[in-house]
Symmetry: C2
Subunit: 264 residues, 2 copies
Amino acid sequence: MVGAAPHAGFWPSAVPVAAETPQAHGITALDELRAHCPNCPVRSLCLPVDLDEHAMGRLDRIIQLRTTVRRKAKLYRPGDRFNALYAIRLGTFKTTVLAEDGCQQVTGYHMAGEIIGLDGIGDERYTCEATALEDSEVCVLPWNEIDRLAADMPELRRNLYRVISRDASREQSMMLLLGSRTAGERLAIFLLNVADRYRDRGYSSCEFVLRMTREEIASYLGLKLETVSRLFSSLQENGLLQVQGRAVKLLDVPRLRRAVSERD
Amino acid sequence: MVGAAPHAGFWPSAVPVAAETPQAHGITALDELRAHCPNCPVRSLCLPVDLDEHAMGRLDRIIQLRTTVRRKAKLYRPGDRFNALYAIRLGTFKTTVLAEDGCQQVTGYHMAGEIIGLDGIGDERYTCEATALEDSEVCVLPWNEIDRLAADMPELRRNLYRVISRDASREQSMMLLLGSRTAGERLAIFLLNVADRYRDRGYSSCEFVLRMTREEIASYLGLKLETVSRLFSSLQENGLLQVQGRAVKLLDVPRLRRAVSERD
DNA sequence: CGACTAGTTGAGGCCAGTCAATGTTGGTGG
DNA sequence: CCACCAACATTGACTGGCCTCAACTAGTCG
């Protein structure tokens, strides 16, 4: 039941949305031979964290599908039936919602090792849209199997809770940001946050390439793109960082941190 | 094990924080005789929703404690060990976090039938502070028992997921609000939201008493209290509502809705 | 090449914040 | 009961940060 033709069960969900191409949202299915949890580079950031060998094996076995998602392709859209979480193996995603006035607002910036799709859990439908910002790879975690597995694996359950609530607390700090910070503080906090996440993944924490346009960053931070552009320029003038399009090099992290915390 | 002295297991958590009085944060324990899920007025909004008789009985049995929380008393504080969720039976709570600059920001306004304490799930510690805005009553849902029960009750699990993710999506729409709405729109949306929730609870949806001060409302909406005050006055001048301190009467809901949606 | 997308920079206006004075409400104690 | 006080709320005048509109540059792709 799990062994043969495993892709059929949960994958079609995405297909009906794709109007023109047979491949939903530009996603390409891969053979399942390669990547597995035990040797995954972002294992320590993902669902398997702290699971013992046996538990990780059980989890790994229900992940039948690892797929690539090309830049600009959508992993899921609002209204799509929820039947899987996605673990980002490689690459970057943004999540967006569209306000009733029709314009998309960016609600999240997600890097390798993070789980997305959590917004679908509540109503069995996704509420966000997840779009790859570069060519990426995700593991598909079929929800009903995850849920079944979680029923008799307390450790997995705990990890699930943690993932879900980490997501919630991220949104909460975002609320704080949007509610009480100036434009400059918002950008600084964003950059420091991204830097930290690169560090967690073993990359340089002060030199990286942002995968979002100025407009997307602005939307994420509740600003306008011109403001973000100006801020980058002014931070550069002040010697806090060096910026070349989307490539950013933080030159003075301590001063950036102070710029964030020392007011009031 | 569950029958005798059931309060001892999870309750002390709140006590150590109370510096002076033996009663933590001003909370008074009640006898457990009265209220039970099956006859709870907010059952249909709470965890038991859609559970059959047997399931509700099992859930009800682990709720050993219903307590009153007096106005201004805190149900939990950031850093308190997480070991229970709280279902609001009666009354209103706000949740706040304190930004590193020391000032509290209101992150939630919670009414009867809602579950609070979810922010503690992830790290086994609460991250918010929950304060009663009027004398209130809550049911204490000991987390490890809830979790154990959820393990073999798929329906309860689904309800839990729903509650958690409803919380997350509330925060997400809050992000949207803070990121892209004018002050007037924010207040209108807030009022309409509160009105809807009163309706859900069987109360008048256009005449109610807000339990927050202008300052708390402002903090919640990412504004300043003077702005909120001015907005109330101007909405009143325009005949959209009538306001007397915290008592609000919505006079023209359709126009309020239009004020929110018709821009852009 | 032209068309398009992404980014930068400038000038001006407005919304909401800031500072400050005054009014209102509710609780407490004489 | 009233006087008093503190907390809450309202209103005004002013300011400044961010948005708006607009022009211009740089890079990419057909």
